[in-house]
Amino acid sequence: MAEFLMPTLGADMTEGTLIAWKKRAGDRVVKGEIIAEVDTDKAAIEVESFHTGLIERLITKPGDRIPVGTVMAIIREEGKPAGKVEVEAKTEMRPLVQVPPSPLRTTILSPAPEPGRLRISPAARQLAAELDIDPSTLQGTGPDGAIVRDDVLRSAQARGKRLEARGEEVVPPLAPRPSPMAEAAGIAADRQSRMRQTIAAAMARSKREIPHYYLSTTIDMSRAMVWLKEENLKRPVTDRLLYGVLLIKAVALALRQVPDVNALWIGNAAVQSPDIHVGVAVSLRQGGLVAPAIHHTDRQSLGELMKRFQDVVKRARAGTLRSSELSDPTITVTSLGEQGVETVFGVIYPPQVALVGFGKIVERPWVVEGQVVSRPVVTASLSADHRVTDGHRGGLFLSAVDRLLQEPVQL
């Protein structure tokens, strides 16, 4: 038997609210399958199971506020006898700090939700909970039938009228009700503030606990850019690659060569990760950022990686990431080149032990066989945890990234 626990999805997360079970007691669940949808202060997260087996019992109910680490369900694992309950070790090993996503675009929902998922904006969900309205009874009038805040308010007002007709006391749902614009601005400002607090907690912990060291190197990107241009000519517009994907793949492959930086600091020691899950920093247009994992980054072809990159960026901005994407990154890659930045001096996300930054690709004089030529170059930087590696290993890692980018066809 195994316990399915309320996971930790952020540095300041102490509890979550179960929105819905995606499985029933008696259903079979496969490891990695979504078993529940949980609301945190920042977003609704799809939580995956770490076990394969039959769901013996669902303990918590939708609407329950559940402290982190609480048993939510019991799963009878395949091939194991019933009766003995094992606490899931994986949960204990998860990173303790990740910046959760923020549904800052409050009216935007996943464009392609999974069947059966209730399409509702975070603001509407919150209001429905406050007013004790079951969202599944509402008719959505938002994009693609999504339930928006006005739908909840209409339902609350209709309910008020019905109660009034029966002579019961009616409490106005919002009194006085601000204008929709002011309301939206208030919600966005509140989320913005909570997002900043989360980032503040993670970054303050990082700077307090991690002795950072920084290295950088300038990489000639001419071969990679020529290859990319030719490659994109062969691809339909829907399959085109961005150079950022080459950088992510080069980092992932370099981690195979220098695995020391692909680790988590747990307790009092570094634990090297057997898998390479690169977290990609995604900036949210109204402020803040999130760095979801692209699982097994090193095993993806560039085309697959591009699709997954597009997908996580889209879902990060829509606030529909999955729990494993938030808890699994083993390193983070951030690229600030589009903001015109040349060099990134990154802050590591604990409990990761390294962060790789890329700046803008710029044309610079470059000496090739004694001749000065113009070349597109990018500055790659490494912020690493000195408790785990020294500059020598960090240097080897950056050299490996450089070498890999000189052979783009091998990526």
Binding site: K229, L233, V237, R240, L242, S283, R285, K314, E338
Partner: protein, 86 residues
């Protein structure tokens, strides 16, 4: 055969597609002759998604070498009108 779109319809479609990519943006405030990437904080993934949307909406191929013509709203409209007239 779909009838050709009037310039206003092309412009409206461009606005709609950009609105889907940057839904919180105030499109009415966008200067049509200045790069919208900076005005709307559109990054390279957003821009690629926009190009894919144009491709799907108008059934046109947009090679990377043409991207520079799509930097502004006015540029997009001119580019699409030219492509659609062929």
């Amino acid at each position: 055969m779909t009838p050709p779109l009037a310039p206003d319809q092309v412009r409206q479609t461009v606005f709609r597609l950009l609105g889907e990519i940057a839904p919180e943006a105030d499109l009415a405030a966008v200067k049509p002759d200045v790069s919208f990437r900076d005005q709307l904080d559109i990054d390279s993934i957003d821009f690629l998604n926009f190009v894919v949307s144009l491709h799907k909406q108008f059934q046109i191929d947009v090679p990377e070498s043409d991207y520079s013509e799509l930097a502004t709203i006015d540029g997009c409209v001119r580019y699409l009108e030219r492509k659609l007239a062929r």
